[in-house]
């Protein structure tokens, strides 16, 4: 039972990074220093023409997007407000997150389905592995016991060392 719970925890831990945006929510605090806000937003949003994160993009559109973010930071806008403004200007693709409808939904559903499938496979395999392990142990135990002649020889050998 404990082994199965441990396997479940391992599977969940391994699958967590696969869920889109799972780690991004913690980075959305709105109380950041203005100096650190620009690089953080640049890491989280996309250059909409080059389709790479804005912090590594170099293009006229990317440069304009960076200036736009800087202007909003200068106006004292929070991270959430800046992201909303970016979406209003460039569309939802600027966030680089899959949408919650149509094919994009697969990005959220597939990791969940994979985790459930893995759990199902584990639920099928774990009892079998445990049965097999128990069977091996019971087969191995008779041969592990010493017969009378071996025990006598071992006692004699040990006596020589005394």
């Amino acid at each position: 039972m404990r082994g199965r719970a441990r396997a479940l925890l391992i599977v969940l831990a391994l699958s967590a990074p696969a869920i889109p945006g799972a780690g991004a929510t913690s980075a959305s605090a709105s109380t950041a220093e203005p100096g650190s806000l620009l690089p953080r937003i640049e890491r989280q949003v996309m250059c909409v023409t080059c389709k790479i994160p804005l912090n590594v993009a170099e293009s006229p559109q990317a440069n304009r997007e960076k200036v736009f973010i800087q202007e909003l930071i200068g106006q004292g806008e929070s991270e959430a407000q800046i992201k909303r403004a970016l979406v209003a200007q460039y569309g939802a693709t600027v966030l680089g997150l899959p949408g919650a409808h149509g094919f994009d939904l697969a990005a959220y559903l597939v990791p969940i389905a994979v985790v459930l499938a893995l759990l199902g496979v584990l639920a099928l395999l774990l009892p079998r592995w445990r049965r097999e392990a128990r069977g091996r142990a019971s087969r191995a135990s008779p041969s592990a016991a010493l017969d009378a002649s071996d025990a006598a020889r071992l006692d004699a050998d040990l006596a020589r060392f005394d």
Binding site: V48, P60, Q89, Y90, V110, A117
Partner: protein, 182 residues
């Protein structure tokens, strides 16, 4: 039976994931169906004709369908796009000619900050209508991915010529003549 079921299930799941990946890649990439149809001389209906977009300068939303009966030079642009800056005077000149022959240039700006787009309109003294495609959905229906891109639409609302890149006077002359005669 159960011993065989698991490998079969895993293989099926893998195949499903692979199919999903292939579908996703093909669905996300820009469609070139319009280009193929135009190249074959089968002029397709302009997509998203009833899609209403807000006018860049404010006011009520307009759809492409409201230009039915006119030759339309549909131009996707953004202020940061250098070829768009080059072709803006050419499009304005075309507008002055098309107006006399019941046609119009229709600009659609996207992936651009609206204040920059407006400044661009003022800088190049553009008099033709310009709309704003905030979500990019209208542009996506044309397979538009890069800027500028221009679609020539005839009076029946069919695309007769496409330029994915900067246009020149020769392209416009040829394409507009074709649209007017088709």
């Amino acid at each position: 039976m159960r011993r065989r079921a698991i490998p079969i299930f895993v293989s099926l799941a893998g195949a499903c994931l692979l199919a999903l990946l292939i579908y996703g890649v093909s669905a996300q990439s820009a469609s070139r169906t319009l280009d193929e149809q135009v190249a074959e001389g089968r002029y397709p209906q302009a997509p998203g004709a009833s899609h209403r977009l807000p006018a860049l300068a404010g006011g009520s939303a307009i759809s492409l369908a409201s230009f039915r009966g006119k030759v339309v030079v549909l131009n996707f642009w953004a202020s940061w796009c250098e070829p768009c800056q080059v072709e803006a005077p050419l499009l304005e000149h075309t507008q002055s000619q098309l107006e006399r022959h019941d046609g119009t240039v229709l600009g659609v700006t996207y992936k651009d900050v609206s204040s920059d787009s407006l400044a661009f309109v003022h800088q190049y003294h553009l008099t033709y209508p310009n709309l704003r495609d905030g979500s990019g959905g209208f542009a996506h229906s044309y397979g538009t991915d890069q800027l500028p891109e221009t679609f020539i639409i005839n009076r029946q609302g069919r695309i007769t010529a496409i330029s994915r890149g900067e246009i020149d006077q020769a392209f416009l002359n040829r394409a507009i003549t074709l649209a007017q005669s088709s």
